[in-house]
């Protein structure tokens, strides 16, 4: 048996230490990473929430109906932030022809939209109903601002269904096609 040279021992010791250090410093499997939303949508959502919050403080029926709207919208908004809207942040890169393996998370999100499409639609139907009720209250009390808000919010909700969600589904399919199998 040949004695190991101090140099080799040092090297082995260093390797083991380095390996242990790396292993220890590796974070535990993290829960799903929260991805940012496109800036434009952050601003739009902030403005909608601010306007709606003002309406919730109105006395009487408009305030009550606005609070009902905010409740259904918040539920939907959580879903949007979690997996409906983040893939849209990739659009500018994809439009420039850039596809990298670290974009694979968007495929998972797009697949989730596909799986939960019916539920998302039903949620949107509840928003429409709540906005209709707000319009009724606003009309009855001659609250033009509340009625205008409801109409604009309905248009936003529809734009999500007609433009944004299909765009995310396309992003998912595009990435699935472009990224190597197994990602």
């Amino acid at each position: 048996m040949h004695p190991r040279s101090p140099k080799i021992l040092t090297l082995v010791a260093f390797s083991v230490t380095a390996w242990i250090t790396v292993a220890v410093s590796q974070p535990a499997p993290a829960p799903a990473v929260a991805h940012p939303l496109p800036q434009a949508l952050i601003f739009e959502h902030k403005e909608t929430l601010e306007r709606l919050t003002i309406l919730t403080k109105r006395p009487g029926e408009v305030g009550i109906k606005a609070r009902e709207v905010i409740a259904v919208m918040k539920r939907h908004s959580a879903r949007e932030q979690e997996f409906i809207l983040p893939p849209l942040t990739l659009l500018p890169l994809l439009a420039d022809g850039k596809v990298t393996p670290d974009m694979a998370w968007a495929i998972t999100m797009a697949d989730r939209i596909k799986a939960e499409r019916e539920e998302i639609f039903n949620e949107r139907a509840r928003i429409t109903d709540a906005l209709n009720a707000l319009v009724v209250a606003a009309t009855r009390t001659h609250d033009k601002e509340a009625a205008e808000f409801a109409e604009a919010a309905q248009a936003d909700s529809f734009s999500d269904a007609e433009l944004l969600e299909p765009a995310v589904l396309l992003i998912g399919e595009y990435l699935r096609d472009k990224l190597p199998a197994g990602r």
Binding site: F121, I127, D129, N132, V135, E151, A155, A161
Partner: protein, 125 residues
Amino acid sequence: MSGLIARIAFTVTLSVAAPAAVYAADPAAGKAVFQSTCSICHSVQPGQNKIGPTLFGVVGRKTGSAPGYTYSPQNQAANLTWDEATLDKYLEAPRTMIPGTKMTYAGLKDAGKRADLIAYLATLR
């Protein structure tokens, strides 16, 4: 005897008249339903599509046929004519009758309100 005949005549008249009274739809009430429930997405002006297609002339129109409106493929393929019966079924639960329709509305569950609304829509021509 004449009292009995009169009573029978009254009963017969009532039984004949009653169904008409129960099902008489009111376009004016339907207009109110439209304004509170549909107008956020639909116009009644000819050619003016909003989030949903214009409802001008909807009664008697084929599904998916309002000019200038982009329908869901399912609505286009439904191949129905909007009449009292089809509208009643659709308005009660749009997604049940035409799965995949873009109409994000849960449905008008009150049969009387639906009848009023359809009576109002029938005036839009």
